[in-house]
């Protein structure tokens, strides 16, 4: 161990320091409002540090590894967390400043993110498990952060119980893999594990544990309740960062560690993808609460992500990573709009959005951009994200599945447009009053909207991801 190898995991080290500084500053500083700016600054420095080039290496005998792809994916999530930090400022200032609980919000969010970084870089099952736990526990605290709101407490306890159950299943799966593979290192399991009932059981249990995080269909029941009750920035964190990290880990596990089980998991993914898309879409149509609606929309999006897995090669990896990059941005944009409207008017239902365009034109443009990107309407980046997923699935001849996915996109267009119609075309006697967002919200809305427009037309981004996509 020398300085060069330590530099390899500098992101985790710097983030740990950021969390510690935040806690110390919290007890020193008198003006609690400035903690918001300190948190944004510290995380901003950390995000910028992430863009310096990094090596391709392993640490601790293969427990921790960093490749160019992992590094790029961490950078994508860094930007996502940075944006969520910016949009949560207005929520924290309004709800948590009187209670003097500002720094803890960011400290919890960053520690959960720290767990995800370890999860993504893990080269050993126990490392992965510890990362998963560190990623989950702070989020349950965050989901119940809105102390005097009973729904928030409900969502926290639901998330805690179901997450504990799913990580128990995950751990049991790991023990079965150890029983058949004889090791917990990804490198030594890879290629050494025989296909037997025990190892298949282990694969399914590990898959179930991660599918819970991604909220794939048989494991999606917690999603709607938790998203509805949780504070909006936390819901966006859950739907974007948590899901993205779990998808990436699932990809590493399936493509690398379990690559000789491919005939099995490819049909598992095939079925779950169809189920997830249909159930997510049909339930989303019926929702009236915006956060519940977004919960089911994110379930449906997870079904589309699985589509990209099916080709199981470089095309698949780059399509999934690219889609997640776009999905992070578009979902954050919609959640930011929902949050700013909800904070200003305390309204979270779709029909409350009637006539939004007349009173708040800018926020309704942002909302429209985000929803169009989620639906996949061409000039905006979301279209290309979905398009690459289809090409990945079609490249191995899954034409029927691509057709089903196209049908589902049409269904999803319907319900995304319901929201857009409410905001733009419907009139209301009692529309949401004109309001002004704070500066951080405005900056992040502008950044994300332009990024969505630019990324759709900027092909070098995809080519870069494609060039580094080898697991």
């Amino acid at each position: 161990m020398n300085w060069n190898t330590l530099l390899l995991m500098r992101q985790e080290l710097v983030l740990t320091t950021v969390i510690l500084i935040l806690l110390v500053v919290d007890v020193i500083v008198k003006n609690k409002k400035s903690l918001n700016i300190i948190a944004i600054l510290l995380f901003g420095i950390y995000t910028i540090l992430g863009f310096f080039p990094s090596g391709n290496n392993e640490l601790f005998g293969g427990m921790y590894k960093n490749t160019e792809l992992i590094f790029a994916f961490k950078n994508i999530l860094n930007i996502g967390v940075f944006l969520i930090t910016m949009i949560s400022v207005s929520w924290v200032n309004k709800k948590m400043l009187p209670l003097n609980k500002v720094a803890e919000f960011y400290a919890l969010m960053f520690s959960s993110y720290l767990g995800m970084l370890f999860m993504i870089s893990a080269g050993h099952f126990l490392m992965l498990y510890i990362g998963l736990e560190l990623a989950t526990l702070p989020v349950t605290a965050l989901a119940s952060y809105d102390m005097f709101n009973r729904k928030s407490s409900e969502s926290g306890i639901k998330l805690l119980l179901s997450a504990a159950f799913s990580s128990g299943i995950f751990l049991f799966g790991i023990s079965m893999i150890y029983a058949t593979g004889g090791s917990l290192y990804f490198n030594s399991i890879y290629g050494n594990i025989a296909i037997s009932y025990l190892s298949i059981m282990g694969l399914f249990m590990i898959f179930a544990g991660l599918a819970f995080k991604i909220s794939l269909v048989p494991f999606h029941f917690w999603t709607a309740d938790v998203y509805e009750g949780a504070p909006t920035p936390v819901a966006s964190y859950l739907s974007v960062i948590s899901k993205g990290a779990a998808v990436f880990v699932l990809m590493i596990l399936l493509f690398k560690v379990f690559s000789n089980f491919i005939d099995l998991w490819i049909y598992l993914l095939y079925g779950i993808s169809i189920l997830t898309m249909f159930i997510g879409n049909f339930f989303a149509i019926r929702q009236t609460n915006m956060q519940r609606f977004l919960a089911f929309s994110s379930v449906a999006q997870a079904g589309f992500i699985l589509l990209g897995f099916l080709s199981a090669d470089q095309v698949a990896v780059s399509a999934v990573v690219y889609f997640i990059a776009i999905y992070v941005l578009s979902n954050i944009l919609v959640f930011a709009a929902v949050q700013s409207i909800g904070l200003a008017s305390n309204k979270y239902n779709i029909e409350d959005y009637n006539g939004l365009y007349r009173t708040n034109p800018l926020i309704s443009i942002a909302l429209m951009f985000g929803l169009f990107s989620l639906a996949g309407i061409p000039p905006i980046a979301g279209f290309f994200g979905k398009f690459f997923l289809y090409t990945a699935a079609a490249s191995k001849g899954f034409y029927l599945l691509v057709f089903i996915a196209v049908v589902n996109v049409t269904i999803s267009l319907y319900y995304y447009l319901i929201v857009v119609r409410a905001a733009w075309l419907r009139k209301s006697d009692n529309p949401i009053q004109f309001y002004k967002s704070d500066i951080f919200m405005k900056i992040s809305l502008v950044i994300v909207s332009t990024a969505l427009l630019v990324l759709g037309l900027f092909s070098p981004f995809y080519e870069y991801i494609f060039s580094i996509s080898n697991i």
Partner: protein, 116 residues
């Protein structure tokens, strides 16, 4: 390893508990008197319902105790081999202590140590 390996898990799990209980029953000497029915060996019978809310301070103290607990667990093996490792080990344990110290400082300043 086939399907039968899966069966081994539940059977072994149940059997281990049953055997352990059975052996304990064989080996133990049984007696019954009034004092045995009391909830604690050296305690007094409880007054009123036990399903009440405890003061949250107890939990806070338990968690802060954990800081020192973890500290000791790591300090003890470190102290045994300290001479062989030199300055590097010293700095590493210092970083570890600083992290725990920040936790304590935070709890202190947030008045978790005050019993009100």
């Amino acid at each position: 390893m086939g399907l039968e390996a899966l069966l081994v898990f539940p059977i072994a799990g149940v059997a281990l508990i049953l055997i352990a209980n059975f052996l304990a029953r064989l080996a133990s000497y049984k007696s019954d008197n009034k004092a045995k029915q009391e909830p604690y060996e050296s305690g007094i019978p409880t007054i009123g319902k036990t399903w009440i809310q405890f003061k949250v301070g107890y939990y806070l103290f338990a968690i802060i105790f954990l800081i020192f607990d973890v500290e000791v667990i790591f300090l003890l093996p470190w102290a045994v081999i300290f001479k062989g490792f030199g300055v590097a080990a010293f700095i590493e344990i210092l970083i570890f202590l600083v992290i725990l110290g920040i936790g304590l400082l935070y709890a202190w300043k947030k008045r978790a140590l005050r019993w009100e």
